[in-house]
Amino acid sequence: MKKKWMIAMLGTLAGIGAAQAEDMEQKFREMVDRSFQSRGIAGKERMLQLDFQRVCSRLDAGDKVDFATLEALRKIQQDTIRWPADGNFFGDWKRGEAIAQSGRGLTWSDKPGTVNGGGCYNCHQLDPKELSFGTIGPSLTGYRKMKGVSEESVRYTWSRLWNAKALNLCTTMYRLGDAGILTEAQLKDVMAYLFDPESPVNKDAK
């Protein structure tokens, strides 16, 4: 029954002209505008989309987006990357562990000034002893051995963390540095958690 309807729907969509598509977009914007309100630190302006968010939404929804558009937006993301001011990429892996475990921050139930977590375990396996891990991202267990500790590998990882969209525009991983979710010092701690031979991510990996 659903299939039949979907086909009918596709038929109508194919028949829709540019003007009607524009009309639907207008209706959508008005719906978003009247359906949300600011609460706590989560202001209504969060409902506005950045350029790449809009294009990635279209791509996710099955629309065709040309490669040149995606590549131009990716380059803009690449330009956001900031390297550590003092040239040192590593902090304390123990603090990094706490940051990877914590998914706190940025919701309307968080108070202003809450220290954000990285939420890494929501999406990644890291310490092999931690059984509560998500599967949206790849496993990072044994990261040091997997990636090596060359300068290239270290810079690659930093840029991933700073802005994952710089490499893969429409990835689900958020922009930890660029969006101000973690501070530079926190990112260094997370880097240590990934690379330090004493970190459980590496020490306990088989």
Partner: protein, 272 residues
């Protein structure tokens, strides 16, 4: 009725355990097994049954400035028909000229029959005041669709429009984490920590997700309506707060319910 209530009361202690165990195995439990597990659990009684009974009473009791009951409330199948109504919601209602989900429809009934101001409910918090009354009514209404086939009618042009608006909302990335619903519910076999995330873009996942809400949440000892579920997902998405019963929330419900068509209504659900 009484024995059902007793079962429900003793339930949390007995089943809380097996639910923990089932959570650890979450990745191995596929949808079919999940449904079997659900059937096994509700045999022991769902704590939401208590609320459903309260809701049944609220439905038939005179209330509000107009001192009327909700017995004449039309949930789409005619005045007073509750059985099977939830499996066919959301739907287009000619009297309000709107597509409505269960909660926005209940607000309409409370307004027209009882004189209760919907704006008051919209401004309240979940599990408080009038909105708690709505939740109890929801528990009652969805229990009356348990085991029914999800059959949302998409013939009306307004329904088709809401489906398309809901689809756009579902894929709408925004906020500091660039998330959309699809970030968490757009692929098969994904988990956040140990929580399984149904793929709501496909029939199987939508039937599992839509068909098992509203639900009793064991970890919080609370009954959550679908509006409550969506509200918390928007919170996790780091977006602004969706207004209770707003069109964006109804459109998302249309999107999920239509995708779930043909599935089984397993309401009220039981969740972690």
């Amino acid at each position: 009725m009484k024995s059902k209530a007793m079962k429900a009361a003793g339930w949390a202690a007995a089943v809380g355990w097996s639910l923990c165990a089932s959570l650890a195995l979450a990745q191995e439990v596929d949808t079919t097994k999940g449904i079997e597990e659900y059937r096994r659990m509700i045999q022991d009684g769902n704590p939401a049954d208590l609320l459903a009974m309260e809701g049944d009473e609220i439905w038939t009791t005179s209330y509000g400035p107009k001192q009327q009951s909700l017995a004449q409330c039309d949930l789409g199948l005619g005045p007073g028909v509750v059985k099977g109504a939830y499996a066919r919601l959301p739907r287009y209602f000619a009297d309000t000229a709107r597509v409505q989900d269960l909660e926005s429809r209940l607000m309409t009934c409370m307004q027209t029959l009882q004189g209760v101001d919907p704006e008051k409910i919209v401004k309240e918090d979940f599990l408080k005041g009038e909105r708690l009354r709505v939740a109890k009514l929801v528990a009652y209404v969805v229990t009356e669709s348990q085991g029914e086939t999800i059959a949302v009618d998409t013939a009306h042009p307004k329904m088709q429009e809401m489906y398309e608006l809901g689809r756009r909302m579902f894929f709408y990335r925004a906020g500091p984490m660039d998330f959309s619903c699809a970030s968490c519910h757009g692929a098969d076999n994904q988990r956040i920590r140990l929580q399984d995330l149904p793929n709501l873009t496909k029939q199987k996942g939508a039937a599992a997700g839509w068909g098992s809400w509203p639900a009793y949440r064991v970890s919080a000892s609370q009954f959550w309506t679908m509006q409550h579920r969506l509200w918390d997902c928007f919170r996790q998405q780091r977006l602004a707060e969706p207004i209770y019963g707003s069109d964006a929330t109804v459109a998302l419900s249309v999107y999920m319910a239509v995708n779930a068509n043909g599935g089984e209504m397993m309401t009220p659900g039981i969740k972690r």
